[in-house]
C-alpha cells in the first residue's frame, strides 16, 4: 500500500510538471462548444471606421494577445481599388486620431493611398465681415488631414488582414438578437453576453463593444437611455473641382441657413459639406451641375446678408484691435473659385444629434456614433469616435493586466467618465455654435462678430482652441 502511494506521488509530480508546460496552450483559445456556440473575450459589433479601428487597436496590444477578439461586419468582404474618382464622404482627421492610426500601423497605409494636409482653416460668416483663422506657426505643421472614408476603412481592413491571427473578422455577419445579463439580481448568470447571429450561430462573450452606428442594436439591447433631436437640416455633400494647385486650406462660412464648408481633398479637389434647410437641400439636389457650382460659389462669395449695423461696429472694432495688437490679426484669404463638379458625387442626408446618457453597462460599451452623434460642422464626430477607441483600448488593456474580467463595470465606468468629460463639452459647443449662427437677428450678429474678432486677435486663446480641437 505505502509503496503504491509513493509511486503515485512520483507520478503526480511528473504529471504536474507536464501540465505546467502545457498550461499556457490551454489558455490561448476558447473552442467552439458542442452545441455550435462560439466563445470570445471581446466581440465588436459593427465594422465601420470606428469599429474596425477598435479591433485593430486591440490587436496591437501585447497584453491582449491571448484573448479571443471577434469583429462582426454586416457587409461582405469587399475588394477595394483606389480609382481617380474621389468619394464624397470624407473625414477630417485630428492629430490625436492620426496618432491612434500611427500606433496601430494604419497611418502609413492611408498616406500611401490618398489624403490631404490642412495647414490653415478660415471661418467667417455672411452677416458681417468678422472672421477667424487657424494655423500653426508659419504654416509649418498641419492642423489636420482630410481623408476619404473609403480610404480610411480600407487601410484599417488591410491592417486587420495582416493581424488576422489575433483578430477574427466575421464578414456578412450581424447580431440579430443580443441578451445582456442583468447583473445585480442574477449574480450566477451574469457571466456572458449571448449574441444570436444572422447565420444562426450563437456567440458568447465577456465584453460586447457596440460600434454599430446611430441606430445601434447594441444600445437598444442594453436599454441605454438616449437624448436625441433632429436639427431639421440636411447636409449636401459633393466633390468639387478647383483650378488652384496649392490646396491646403479648409473653408467654412456660416450662413443663416447653416454652415457651408469646403475641405481640401487633393491639389485640385474639394469636399463640400453644406448644411441647410431640407427644402433648400432638395432644391440644390435637383439643380444641374453648372447651377449647383454657381450656387456654391455664390454661397461663399455673396454679401447680401450683410447687416449694416454689425458691419459698422466690426469695422471700427477691427481698427481698434489693429491699434492694440498690431500684427496679431490675420489677413482675409479669398476662397478658391469652383470650376466644376465630379459627376454623380452629389448626395444628401438628414442631420440630428444623439447622445446616450450612459456609454457602458455591465459587459457592454458603446463607441462612436452608437454613443454620440453630432452636427458635422466642425468635423469632430469621427474624431470623437477614434478618441473612444483610444480610451477604451487603454481601459481594456489595464483591466487585462490587472487580471480583471474584461467586462467588469468598474473599468468600463472609467472609460465612460473620461469620454463623457471630453465628448459633452464638444457636443455642447458645436450645438451652441450651430444655434448661434443660425440667426440673422442684429444683436446676436453683432455680439458673435465682435466675439469672433476678439478671439481671432488673441493668439493664446486661439492656440488653446487648436489644442482642444486636436486631442
Amino acid at each position: 500500500m505505502a509503496v503504491n502511494v509513493m509511486k503515485h506521488c512520483v507520478k503526480c509530480t511528473r504529471v504536474w510538471n507536464q501540465l505546467a508546460r502545457c498550461q499556457p496552450v490551454l489558455s490561448r483559445c476558447y473552442q467552439t462548444n458542442n452545441n455550435g456556440e462560439q466563445v470570445a473575450d471581446i466581440v465588436i459589433s459593427g465594422g465601420g471606421m470606428v469599429g474596425a479601428a477598435m479591433a485593430c487597436s486591440l490587436g496591437h496590444e501585447s497584453v491582449l494577445q491571448n484573448k479571443k477578439i471577434i469583429l462582426l461586419e454586416a457587409a461582405p468582404q469587399k475588394q477595394f481599388k483606389l480609382t481617380e474618382k474621389l468619394s464624397n464622404r470624407t473625414c477630417t482627421l485630428s492629430p490625436a486620431s492620426i496618432q491612434l492610426f500611427e500606433r496601430c500601423g494604419v497611418w502609413p497605409v492611408i498616406e500611401s493611398m490618398r489624403c490631404q494636409q490642412v495647414l490653415r482653416m478660415q471661418v467667417w460668416e455672411s452677416c458681417s465681415n468678422s472672421l477667424i483663422s487657424f494655423n500653426q506657426d508659419e504654416m509649418s505643421d498641419e492642423l489636420a488631414y482630410v481623408a476619404e472614408n473609403d480610404v480610411i476603412l480600407e487601410s484599417i481592413n488591410r491592417r486587420l488582414n495582416e493581424i488576422k491571427d489575433r483578430i477574427e473578422v466575421m464578414y456578412s455577419t450581424k447580431a440579430e438578437n443580443i441578451q445582456i445579463p442583468g447583473g445585480l439580481d442574477e449574480p450566477d448568470s451574469n457571466a456572458w453576453v449571448n449574441i444570436l447571429l444572422n447565420n444562426g450561430q450563437t456567440l458568447k462573450t465577456k465584453l460586447l463593444v457596440g460600434s454599430d452606428g446611430m441606430n445601434s442594436t447594441v444600445r437598444k439591447a442594453a436599454n441605454l437611455h438616449t437624448v436625441s433631436f433632429d436639427y431639421n437640416q440636411k447636409a449636401i455633400v459633393a466633390v468639387l473641382n478647383i483650378s488652384e494647385t496649392d490646396n491646403n486650406v479648409a473653408w467654412q462660412r456660416f450662413l443663416p441657413t447653416g454652415p457651408i464648408a469646403m475641405l481640401p481633398m487633393s491639389d485640385t479637389a474639394m469636399s463640400l459639406i453644406w448644411t441647410t434647410s431640407p427644402e433648400h437641400a432638395d432644391h440644390l439636389r435637383s439643380l444641374s451641375s453648372e447651377s449647383l457650382v454657381d450656387a456654391v460659389n455664390d454661397a461663399f462669395w455673396h454679401d447680401r446678408d450683410i447687416n449694416q449695423v454689425a458691419d459698422n461696429f466690426t469695422n471700427n472694432f477691427q481698427k481698434l484691435l489693429n491699434n492694440i495688437l498690431p500684427g496679431e490679426s490675420s489677413l482675409r484669404q479669398l476662397p478658391p473659385t469652383i470650376t466644376g463638379l465630379q459627376e454623380g458625387s452629389v448626395a444628401s442626408f438628414p442631420l440630428g444629434l444623439t447622445h446616450a446618457s450612459n456609454y457602458v453597462r455591465h459587459r457592454v460599451a458603446l463607441i462612436g456614433d452608437a454613443a454620440h452623434r453630432m452636427h458635422p460642422l466642425a468635423g469632430q464626430g469621427v474624431n470623437l469616435g477614434f478618441g473612444d477607441v483610444a480610451k477604451l483600448t487603454e481601459i481594456i488593456t489595464k483591466a487585462a493586466s490587472d487580471g480583471s474580467d474584461l467586462g467588469t463595470l468598474s473599468y468600463l465606468k472609467e472609460y465612460e467618465t473620461s469620454r463623457q468629460r471630453k465628448v459633452l463639452p464638444v457636443m455642447a459647443t458645436i450645438d451652441g455654435l450651430q444655434r448661434l449662427y443660425h440667426t440673422d437677428f442684429t444683436p446676436v450678429v453683432l455680439l458673435r462678430s465682435l466675439g469672433l474678432q476678439a478671439t481671432n486677435a488673441l493668439g493664446p486663446l486661439k492656440n488653446k482652441i487648436i489644442e482642444k480641437a486636436s486631442d
Binding site: V15, Q23, S27, Y30, D188, H362, T408
Partner: protein, 336 residues
C-alpha cells in the same frame, strides 16, 4: 490503491473536465491512470497536489480536528476552524451570496483589486525577475490565497497565469467561489478552492508555494502568531508573502470601523472588530521572527465617493505589506 470513492471523497472527481476539451496537448494525459480509476481530475495540477494532500489527510484523520463530513460520501471536505471565530463565521455565511455583486456589500473589495492585483503582480515580477510580454506575468507561479472568500482575488491572479489555491474556512464561500469559477473557462484549470484553514495546509504542504496572499484576512484571525507562522511555512525559500489589512489606530477606529460601517455603509455592520487590527510594526516583528524580510509597507486609502482605492504614504488606516522568505542559500552566498 486509491479507489474511485476515495477520489470522490478527496474532492476532485468532477474537476477540470473542460481542460481536456480545450487542448490537444492535454488529451494525451487522459490515459494516465491513477490507481484503478481513470479520473479526469488528473488534468489539473492543483487537483493533483490536493489529491495527494487529502489522501494523506484521510490516512491521518486523528491528527486533525475533523468536521462533520469526513466519513460521508459527499464531496464536502473536512472543516477545520482553528483561527476563525465562531461568531464571525456566522456573519460571513450570511454574506456569502453577495460576493460577486460588484456594487454590493463587497464593492470595496472588488475595487481594491485595482490596487492589490498590480501590487502582487509587480512584487512577484520584481522578486522573480520575470520578463513577459504575453499578458501572463505570473505564468506557472503557485499562489495560496488565504481567506479567498468568493474568489474575488483568486480569479484575477489565475488570469495572470498563476496556479491559485483559494483557502477559506467558510464552506458557503468556497461553494460560491467554485460555482463562479465555471463562468470563466480560462481560469477554471488554474484555481482550486479548499475549505480549510492555513494551519491545516501548512502541516502537509510546507515550502511548496511561490507566494501566499492574505488580503483583508489578518484582522479577522483569532491567533495571529500561529496564522502568520503557517503562512510563512507554506512559502518556498525566496517566496513572497503579501498582506493587506488595517492598522490599529484611532483613525482606523473612527473611519474604517465607525464611518465605513455606520455612516457610508461601505461594509456591513459587524465586519470588523477593531481589537483585532494589527499595527504594521507588530506584524513586522512577527514576520521577522519567521525568517521573513519585509520589503515594503504602503498605505492605502478608500475614497467612498469615487469608489476607488488610492496608494498613500500614511499607513494609519489600511496598509499593504510585501515580505520575502529569506533563502538560507542566499545568506550563505552573501557570507562567502
Amino acid at each position: 490503491m486509491l479507489s474511485r470513492k476515495t477520489l470522490k471523497l478527496i474532492g476532485c472527481g468532477n474537476y477540470c473536465r473542460s481542460c481536456i476539451l480545450t487542448s490537444n496537448n492535454c488529451k494525451t494525459l487522459t490515459s494516465v491512470k491513477f490507481g484503478t480509476s481513470r479520473s479526469s481530475s488528473l488534468h489539473c495540477p492543483l487537483a493533483l497536489t490536493f489529491s495527494k494532500l487529502r489522501y494523506q489527510k484521510a490516512g491521518m484523520c486523528s491528527g486533525f480536528q475533523i468536521g462533520r463530513n469526513c466519513s460521508s460520501k459527499s464531496q464536502n471536505r473536512p472543516v477545520v476552524t482553528t483561527t476563525m471565530d465562531e461568531e464571525e463565521l456566522k456573519h460571513f455565511q450570511a454574506l456569502a451570496k453577495s460576493w460577486w455583486d460588484e456594487t454590493g456589500d463587497f464593492e470595496a473589495l472588488h475595487a481594491m483589486n485595482k490596487l492589490r492585483v498590480p501590487f502582487i503582480r509587480d512584487g512577484l515580477v520584481d522578486q522573480n525577475d520575470i520578463v513577459e510580454s504575453d499578458g501572463l506575468p505570473l505564468k506557472d507561479l503557485t499562489i495560496v490565497d488565504v481567506g479567498s472568500g468568493g474568489g474575488i482575488l483568486s480569479e484575477p491572479l489565475a488570469r495572470l497565469g498563476a496556479f491559485v489555491i483559494g483557502l477559506d474556512p467558510v464552506e458557503e464561500s468556497t461553494t460560491i467561489a467554485q460555482l463562479h469559477l465555471k463562468e470563466d473557462p480560462r481560469v477554471q484549470c488554474r484555481v482550486k478552492y479548499i475549505n480549510g484553514s492555513v494551519e491545516d495546509l501548512a502541516s502537509t504542504e510546507s515550502e511548496k508555494f511561490d507566494a501566499v496572499v492574505a488580503s483583508e484576512v489578518v484582522e479577522h484571525v483569532a491567533d495571529l502568531v500561529s496564522f502568520v507562522e503557517s503562512c510563512c511555512k507554506l512559502l518556498k525559500p525566496g517566496g513572497s508573502l503579501f498582506i493587506t489589512t488595517m492598522n490599529k489606530t484611532v483613525l482606523s477606529k473612527s473611519l474604517a470601523v465607525f464611518a465605513a460601517e455606520k455612516v457610508f455603509k461601505i461594509v456591513p455592520e459587524g465586519t470588523h472588530d477593531w481589537e483585532k487590527f494589527v499595527p504594521p510594526e507588530d506584524l513586522k516583528v512577527i514576520l521577522e521572527n519567521n525568517n521573513m524580510d519585509v520589503k515594503m509597507i504602503h498605505g492605502m486609502l478608500y475614497l467612498p465617493v469615487f469608489r476607488e482605492w488610492k496608494w498613500v504614504k500614511d499607513t494609519s488606516i489600511n496598509y499593504a505589506l510585501h515580505a520575502v522568505k529569506i533563502d538560507p542559500t542566499d545568506v550563505a552566498d552573501d557570507r562567502l
